[in-house]
Symmetry: C2
Subunit: 341 residues, 2 copies
């Protein structure tokens, strides 16, 4: 068969603040012959959907700056969680027609090798494939693992979730309600606030038009804070935390695209006997992954846990999806639909 065009979204330039489509990232095409390209023991997949996540901004940096994840390489494709269908395989664990999930390059066709990094999805609940990079994938695991491991939630307590309408936050809101907590949640638009109410938040507010401090003063003190934002929102949460409150440190989006503004009231961590638990989903797979796949797809398929997806069509528009999650303009889990089955 003749070669086909293989589109890629490459990391083109280190952004100063927000990642700019066409500048930070660039869509390019190369030729690939799907029948003859050498697999070297790996497996060739057709990418169906890719994830755009806030944490990816941390990889768009100068490689000399240390961090917990390697920097993206200039000229190479962006990488993130994706779901793909196997076209050819030299690895017996991945069969033609299988759907696999794992971190893969932003390209239409790609050869995957490290089998430990990929999982064949057994979609018995018949969820949309995109769900496996959203509520039934990494963001879902983040919410599920972090809540189970670090919140120590007790019925009747009050929980504050920042970026509560996001891919992770919206699940945390629902887990907190399932555990019998009062939930305060913030988001950056009125549409998101409406969604927060729809999924059960007791108090939902637009932090751009309503002061976080005022809301927490009125509705707090809080015993659990799920932090997706960091900076001044974290400071407000410390100010209105109860003695012995647990802070689940999941993200600090406020500092990803510019100067950080760390809380000035760190001393209250001592005075209030607060516990701040940072975590990466990858550090907790060993403990919760099996339980997650047994539980979460059912909760999603039954509608007991709600989720929204914000689909960007076409890998050539991937840069817009990457920017959206940094600015918070997406409504629901940001996903790039690369191809149909």
């Amino acid at each position: 068969m003749a070669p086909v065009k293989n589109g890629q979204l490459i990391f083109n330039e280190i952004p100063e603040t927000y990642p700019i489509p066409g500048k930070t990232t660039k869509y390019v095409e190369k030729d690939i012959d799907l029948d003859t390209v050498s697999l070297n023991g790996g497996f060739l997949v057709k990418v169906l959907a890719l994830s755009s996540d806030p944490y990816l901004r941390g990889r768009m940096r100068d490689p000399s700056e240390p961090s917990y994840m390697p920097a993206f390489k200039l000229g190479e494709p962006i990488e993130a969680h994706g779901v793909a269908k196997v076209l050819r395989s030299e690895n017996p664990k991945f069969k033609v027609g299988d759907h696999v999930v794992g971190v893969m390059p932003y390209e239409k066709y790609t050869i995957l090798k490290d089998e430990s990094e990929f999982m064949v999805v057994d979609n018995t609940e018949k969820l949309s494939w995109t769900t496996f990079i959203g509520a039934a994938g990494m963001p879902g695991q983040t919410a599920y693992y972090g809540w189970k491991e670090h919140a120590d939630a007790k019925k009747g307590e009050t929980c504050f979730v920042s970026a509560g309408a996001g891919a992770v936050g919206s699940l945390v809101v629902q887990f907190a309600k399932m555990d019998g907590l009062k939930v305060i949640a913030s988001a950056g638009s009125d549409d998101k606030v409406a969604y927060l109410k729809e999924i059960g938040a007791d108090v939902a507010f637009n932090y751009k038009t309503t002061s976080t401090e005022e809301v927490l003063k009125k509705e707090g003190p809080i015993q659990v804070y799920w932090d997706n934002v960091g900076g001044q929102t974290l400071q407000a949460a410390i100010d209105y935390a109860d003695i012995g409150a647990r802070f689940v440190e999941c993200g600090m989006i406020s500092g990803y695209n510019g100067e950080q503004n760390p809380p000035k009231n760190m001393m209250m961590i001592i005075g209030k006997s607060l516990r701040l638990s940072g975590f990466l989903v990858g550090h907790l797979h060993y403990k919760y992954k099996e339980e997650f796949y047994r539980t979460m797809p059912k909760l999603l398929a039954s509608g007991k846990v709600k989720f929204r997806e914000d689909i960007t069509k076409g890998l050539e528009n991937g840069g817009d999806a990457l920017l959206a999650v940094q600015k918070g303009t997406n409504v629901g889990k940001a996903i790039i639909l690369v191809a149909d089955e």
Copy 2:
């Protein structure tokens, strides 16, 4: 009997930066008739020794600033842990001749009332009475409780203790060694560094002449950080923490007397799955107090745990002792010797 002079060290003025003796605090005298002064159900004590602790700076503030402890009242005596001998009593729990420990005013003679705040010391190990406001008192409890509750120390791990030669830090260094950890400890003078080596620190350095970052880079990564300092020292500890490290947040002296300089690398709390546990000793009495008094005095009396005291003689010099712990010029637990038995 004729009245005697009752010296007091009063809170005279809110300090801008460091508390200045004679300005922030002032020594005054009032008359008291020890035989006739009305007890109203309380008990009259002769104060033997008072504690000067870093945290007291937090109480020398404008009462309108919220904090976890009430502000000192202008014109009223400073209050801190003290050890005193009962002279007269209308409370059967406190008998004449008993030695009591608890938070009491900085005055030579005082009438105590709230019985739940005071404990009669059963000094079976014949320790110096001053020990009960030092290694066998609140600072000892702070080190003991915090280490047991929050360090999750494992043999072979590496622990960094800032202000390691202080009243709390020097005990933490020894607890960490007893648990089989490698201990890195910082202090602010060469004399203190020598003491750190004497009590078993594997790596001891003067942070004023040696870069904390350089030491941690060479001797880390650290799995436990005992934080007495906060600010940029906390930032360095985050930079050189291992995945899953535990931070015991005990004090942040770097921010007590001026502008705070919070860490700019808070995001690494997430990336490294760090846990920061703040605590106040008072929140943990219920769990460890009984065990502490069963264990700690024996360890101190036998010399298995070493401690140093820095004695300031005379309540009129109490302001110097209060300043010393803010500047770190004391060597060992700062204690004001008010009177002999």
